[in-house]
């Protein structure tokens, strides 16, 4: 029996797609930033350590919502100030509109990068130092030792935390509706206001998130098996 979504069905699907895209792109950015910040925190360079500590402390201490509004509105004002300067100097008339999707990806990526940083840092520290020492002793460069030894061993410790961060990130994408992005929450909200049928729209939205997390659990299970190689020895 097909459910009547009062014409909102296709838009809900579009919204779900936007949620998924936003979440995946933010995740990639967050992982990259987290890895960089964790490496900086553990590096021998004092300034890098300070910078990374400020990043992870400041970002984790401020609500996502505030940061998102700050970046979206403040970001636009900042871009405008910059283009005004350039226009005044060069006599041109440029205007750059900060795309809400990009703003959403950047904000979520920057915020969750700070959480990923802490997860990665803990995981790096959990790797037995003898493993890294052996890599050095056999003539590996820092990068090679990272790629072949430190990273694969670290991922085993990082995965549970990364998975947790990913779940929280996915659900935080709902916040982008406040900066004008039509994700599935915003569409459900519009539909509910128009039809006064909250269950009809909000339950599918909940199921939509559940569907994304279920699919991602399969991916995480695969990664877990991969990085457990050599540890879970009855499976070898």
């Amino acid at each position: 029996m097909p459910i009547n979504f009062y014409g909102y069905g296709p838009r809900l699907l579009e919204g779900a797609l936007l949620t998924a895209e936003l979440a995946v792109l933010s995740l990639i950015l967050a992982l990259a930033l987290g890895l960089l910040a964790a490496s900086a925190k553990l590096s021998r360079s004092g300034p890098l350590r300070v910078l990374a500590t400020i990043y992870s402390t400041a970002i984790r201490g401020v609500p996502e919502l505030v940061l998102m509004m700050l970046l979206f509105y403040g970001g636009q004002i900042g871009v405008n100030m910059l283009t005004d300067r350039i226009n005044a100097w060069a006599g041109t008339d440029y205007f750059i509109n900060l795309n809400p999707f990009a703003a959403g990806v950047i904000t979520l990526g920057v915020i969750y990068g700070a959480y990923m940083c802490e997860t990665f840092r803990g995981a790096f520290l959990a790797v037995d130092s003898g493993q890294i020492e052996a890599a050095k002793a056999y003539g590996m460069s820092e990068w090679l030792a990272f790629r072949r030894v430190r990273f694969p061993l670290m991922m085993r410790h990082a995965l549970p935390g990364l998975n947790n961060n990913w779940m929280v990130l996915l659900k935080a994408t709902a916040l982008v509706s406040i900066i004008g992005l039509t994700d599935m929450v915003r569409i459900a909200d519009q539909a509910t206001k128009a039809t006064h049928l909250p269950f009809l729209f909000l339950i599918p939205v909940g199921l939509g998130y559940l569907a994304i997390t279920t699919v991602s659990e399969i991916g995480v299970a695969w990664l877990r098996r991969r990085y457990d190689t050599g540890f879970n020895t009855d499976g070898a």
Binding site: D128, A137, Y138, G139, M140, S141, L144, P152, T229, F231
Partner: protein, 256 residues
């Protein structure tokens, strides 16, 4: 080609940790085929000495010269660093180390461990490295364990595997850092047997050990360290049979 190079020369090495001197002017020369054992009580600096040779610890003073090539150092903000890490990596590739705790890479199979550095550091093809690696595992009696992970091996097997990994680099000098200290007594013999065979075939080795029988029977030179200094050095027949210092007498036990 001249035969007269020296695989490893260490001159007047000093090392301190946080201002506490650990090594105070140690020197050593390993010629081709030498087996030099470093003995001494814990805290005497023997492991640190060994770790300075492949720059896992950076000596504060002194030279490390591998196959005629001195490691270049520079001083930055009062601290001594290698001037060229690429050089250090190249030199480390010539000095394979066998660790007390094996340190086989846990996420790779045994054969994966053996071919890892030959493929990624020396640039051998996987096929060639594998052939060589399997021959080495055969030598140390582990051919049937090639596809096992380190966690599935006994300590003795893991250490013999680690020796195969070291041999795969075709090193100038092999550095052994207490290779039998973490093993159950009944497993020590297998590892020592492999090491004796390596010595017999003319490998150049520097061995930190507590195995006095090994030091006596196998080494060409024994160096006794006490409080970061070379207290005695010489042929095992001399210094182990007729120790000159009261410290070594005490270290060797009630026989003296």
């Amino acid at each position: 080609m001249t035969e007269s190079y020296t695989p490893l020369v260490v001159r007047d090495l000093h090392k301190s940790f946080n201002g506490n001197p650990v090594l105070e002017g140690l020197s050593l020369e390993a010629h081709v085929g030498d087996v030099i054992t470093l003995i001494g009580s814990s805290g005497s600096g023997k492991s640190t000495f060994l770790r300075c040779m492949n720059l896992l610890e950076i000596p504060n003073e002194g030279d490390v010269i591998v196959h005629g090539e001195p490691v270049k150092f520079c001083v930055k903000r009062g601290e001594r660093h290698p001037a060229d890490w690429k050089q250090v990596e190249r030199i480390r590739g010539k000095l394979s180390m066998v660790f007390q705790g094996f340190n086989l890479w846990a996420h790779m199979t045994l054969i994966g461990n053996v071919i890892e550095a030959p493929v990624h550091v020396l640039g051998l093809s996987k096929k060639e490295a594998r052939e060589r690696g399997m021959a080495l595992l055969e030598r140390v009696g582990l051919a049937d364990r090639a596809d096992y992970f380190p966690a599935q091996l006994s300590g003795g097997q893991a250490q013999r595997g680690a020796i195969a990994r070291a041999l795969a680099m075709e090193p100038e000098v092999m550095l052994f850092d207490e290779p039998t200290s973490a093993l159950d007594p009944e497993l020590v013999g297998d590892v020592l047997k492999v090491m004796r065979e390596l010595a017999d075939e003319g490998r150049t080795m520097v061995v930190v050990t507590h195995e006095m029988d090994f030091a006596r029977d196998v080494s060409s030179q024994v160096i006794y360290l006490h409080k970061g200094q070379i207290a005695e050095a010489g042929k095992p027949g001399d210094i182990l049979e007729k120790p000159g210092t009261p410290q070594l007498k005490q270290f060797l036990g009630p026989r003296f």
